[in-house]
């Protein structure tokens, strides 16, 4: 009952053009049936994510470890709440990040869990920068 060959083949990597995403905006693309948020963070959002003491987080991780060096403003996360799989809404909640409407989990501008029942941070999918304006997910 594991995924069949077609399903696996359809899950191959995809490329995303980043030029249309202005600072402070985000897009949602689908990869393997999962929504992936690609967020072009503002300076304020990056600073907020880096100033919070890591040890105070429920699932400690530095912002640096969740983004690619040299592309610090780009946050790429799987938009599936780690609680029960709903899709959080971007740019909502108290932490300038994501808010899940189902059970009230709140994530910060680095996609880290800050409040609510979710046990872990939003997952970071495998991805790399092909060029400064092109991203490959998968």
């Amino acid at each position: 009952m594991n995924p069949d060959a077609t399903t696996i083949a359809a899950g191959a990597p995809i490329e995303v053009d980043l030029t249309p995403i202005a600072s402070g905006q985000d897009i949602k693309v689908f990869w393997r049936g999962k929504p992936i948020y690609i967020m072009n963070r503002t300076k304020k959002q990056v600073d907020e994510a880096r100033q919070v003491p890591v040890s105070s987080l429920p699932d400690p991780a530095t912002d640096q470890s969740r983004v690619k060096e040299g592309h610090d403003q780009w946050l790429v996360v799987i938009g599936i709440c780690t609680h029960l799989g709903c899709i959080p809404i971007a740019h909502e909640g108290n932490y300038d990040g994501f808010f899940c409407p189902c059970h009230g989990s709140q994530y910060d501008s680095s996609g880290r869990i800050r409040q609510g029942p979710a046990p872990a941070n939003l997952a970071v999918p495998p991805y790399q920068f092909v060029s400064d304006s092109k991203l490959q997910i998968g």
């Binding site: 009952m1 689908f30 393997r32 049936g33 929504p35 029960l84 799989g85 709903c86 189902c102 029942p117």
Partner: protein, 689 residues
């Protein structure tokens, strides 16, 4: 205590069969000669009711499966096709959907009856455990069945429930992938859920056979909780229990028919009339009502794994009940303390159900934790403790004695009544507070020609509404499920077939490819569907500032608002179900040029009083004098809104008149039938008392 069969067939064919396979003898000893305690009350008829419901579900389900398509892009459409186009498809679907709710309602009564009368105690432990297994199978079946229509609630319910398994350490994620058959809930998930949903009812039927077998070995429990000893304690299953069960079933069918014919969507969720969309989570995911208590327990625990463990334990704990409650006395009738706690437990269960439907915030979370504790305390603290300290009242010597001493034994459960009243009062106070806050945004209730048990669509309003849709709404909104032929259908706008034909001919329909391989346009035919204004979702969004004008075929069923406690209980009796039309009507009239102070509306959106969030992408669509009516009705926004809403209600529920008409006939029949069963039962039992 299997029945002493005196089955002696006289017919030579039956004798021939009986010597080779004694199946008729088995039937005879199980359902005719089988001795049943003579003091059983009507709570015992729920066993028969459940068998009846299982039969109904399997029968309607097999018929529905003949018309259903388990494919992610077609499932929602095929369910609508069943309801609209299949002969009596609406009846089959309503029976199956509300049948699931009735099945669960009956099983809860059956379980609480077992709990109250101690039917799980020695020698009926295996009988009880088989019942818990049936209940678990029912929950799995019901959940997978709810996924099949592939609406928003189906999809997101499936997502939330399958994600529960990801909480299991180490193997959780692999299990979830196995359930999905992919990287997320999708077409493979739907396919396997359909397969399992078809399989499990037959597994249930198999376990039901074991359940009845175990019942016939141990014998039925009874309200007195003393075992049958002599022949005076029992009566033959047929005719005594059979006729009583028939009466019980016929009364239950009256309740069932109320849902099928008059309140088919009362227990459903409006969001499930929106096709599944993996990109948008509904604001408020709620399971079907029969899972709500367990959902409330899941949500009240702040840790994911612990929440899942608590939820599953709350059901599995039932398996251990025979060893948790060790009191010798079975029936709570003779256990003054256990009786009080039983009723408190019932109230705890109902309140947990109420909390499961509320948003998980503030006081609701705290109340959920307290009640979850109460739920487990009943099994782990109260029952074991009571078995030790409680002093039971004297039991009757035999069932026959119990029947003779029946008169003058009524003690009101004082404490629990007071508690129930207090809780109802608290709920009422809480909801009025909520209601006061939301009062401005709740659409006003209108009078609709189609409400109530004898409601009919106003033909004039339908025709005017069609005109408004055609001249105004259809510029942006599709009506995908309605064909031109439908406007000549009985119970519809009342056009003739010729009128429908000429109405269709006014449209240009894209057809093809022709012999040259090219698409071409031709005049519409009655079998064509209303053409959509935009070729695809992206085009629709691009033309409407990013907003997607929703399809209007189901809009009056897909929109709703909270009614709150206790209104939703009264709604059941008054058959109020016009939230959708009220909302659509209010929305069309709810535009205001200037938002109230303190509310800012983003560029490109408009303020609407009744739209959730108030910022709607649709500009005010209707203005006075925009559409002229031939019948002299006023050309006002209020009139347009009312007419187009009536038209859209018909579009969402085209067989409503047939449904209510048949419903009335079924009711007359059922009431007469139940009356006949009652008097037959009285006559049959007259000699037994």
């Amino acid at each position: 205590m299997s029945g002493p069969s005196d089955y002696q067939p006289t017919n030579p064919v039956l004798q021939w069969i009986e010597r080779r396979l004694p199946i008729f003898g088995l039937m005879h000893s199980s359902f005719v000669a089988y001795p049943t305690p003579r003091n059983l009350n009507y709570w015992w008829t729920f066993g028969a009711i459940l068998s009846f419901m299982l039969g109904v579900q399997i029968l309607t389900g097999v018929i529905l499966a003949m018309h259903y398509t388990p494919e992610a892009t077609m499932a929602f459409h095929s369910v609508e096709a069943i309801v609209r186009d299949v002969n009596y498809g609406w009846l089959m679907r309503n029976m199956h959907a509300s049948g699931a709710s009735m099945f669960f309602f009956a099983v809860y009564v059956h379980m609480f009856r077992g709990l109250y009368y101690g039917s799980y105690k020695e020698p009926r432990e295996i009988l009880w455990i088989l019942g818990v297994i049936i209940y678990l199978l029912m929950m799995a079946t019901g959940f997978m069945g709810y996924v099949l229509p592939w609406g928003q609630m189906s999809f997101w319910g499936a997502t939330v429930i399958t994600n529960l398994f990801s909480a299991i350490p180490y193997v959780g994620d692999s299990i979830v992938t196995l359930l999905w058959g992919g990287y997320s809930v999708g077409n493979p998930t739907l396919n396997r859920f359909f397969s399992l949903h078809y399989l499990l009812p037959f597994v249930i039927a198999g376990v039901v056979v074991l359940h009845i077998w175990a019942l016939h070995v141990a014998g039925q429990n009874n309200p007195a909780g003393v075992e049958a000893k002599t022949e005076k304690d029992t009566v033959a299953f047929t005719p005594y229990a059979t006729i009583k069960d028939l009466f019980g079933v016929s009364c239950f069918m009256i309740l069932f028919a109320w849902f099928i014919f008059y309140m088919p969507n009362y227990l459903g969720d409006a969001d499930n009339y929106i096709p599944a969309n993996p990109g948008v989570t509904p604001a408020h995911i709620v399971p079907e009502w029969y899972y709500l208590p367990f959902y409330a327990m899941l949500r009240s625990i702040p840790n994911k794994l612990a929440g899942v463990v608590v939820m599953f334990s709350s059901i599995l704990i039932l398996v251990f009940l025979p060893w948790l409650d060790t009191a010798k006395t079975k029936s709570c009738t003779y256990r003054p303390l256990a009786k009080q706690f039983f009723w408190i437990f019932v109230i705890v269960g109902i309140l947990l159900g109420y909390l499961g439907a509320q948003p998980p915030e503030g006081i609701y979370v705290i109340a959920g934790r307290v009640l979850t504790f109460c739920y487990f305390a009943y099994f782990l603290i109260v029952l074991p403790l009571l078995s030790r300290v409680e002093k039971a009242k004297p039991l009757p010597n035999s069932i026959a004695d119990d029947v003779l001493a029946k008169t003058g034994r009524k003690t009101a459960p004082m404490v629990s009544t007071v508690i129930a009243l207090m809780i109802a009062g608290a709920l009422f106070a809480g909801s009025t507070q909520n209601a006061r806050a939301a009062e401005d945004e709740t659409p006003p209730s209108q009078t609709w020609s189609f409400s109530g048990p004898f409601g009919k669509f106003d033909r004039g309003a339908l025709q005017r509404g069609l005109k408004v849709y055609k001249e105004v709404c259809s510029a942006c909104h599709s009506l995908n499920y309605i064909a031109f032929r439908n406007i000549a259908d009985p119970g519809g706008p009342g056009y003739s077939e010729a009128q429908a034909k000429s109405f269709a001919a006014e449209y240009k329909i894209k057809d093809g490819p022709n012999d040259q391989g090219e698409m071409f346009e031709r005049p519409g035919r009655p079998a064509d569907y209303f053409p959509a204004p935009f070729p695809n979702e992206q085009a629709a969004r691009a033309a409407n500032g990013g907003g997607l004008p929703p399809d209007l075929s189901l809009i009056t069923k897909a929109r709703s608002y909270e009614r709150g406690f206790p209104k939703f209980i009264f709604d059941f009796f008054t058959q109020f179900q016009e939230q959708g039309p009220n909302y659509v009507d209010a929305l069309l009239q709810g535009f205001e040029d200037k938002p109230p102070p303190g509310v800012t509306i983003p560029e490109g959106s408009y303020y609407n009083k009744y739209f959730p969030g108030h910022a709607i992408k649709m500009p005010k669509p209707l203005s006075d004098g925009q559409v002229t009516f031939d019948d002299g009705s006023p050309a006002t926004v209020a009139q347009y809104a009312k007419d187009v809403t009536t038209f859209l209600m018909w579009a969402a529920d085209p067989h409503m008149e047939a449904r209510k008409h048949l419903g009335f006939q079924v009711f007359v029949f059922l009431i007469i039938f139940a009356g006949m069963m009652y008097f037959t039962k009285k006559k049959v039992w007259a000699e037994a008392h």
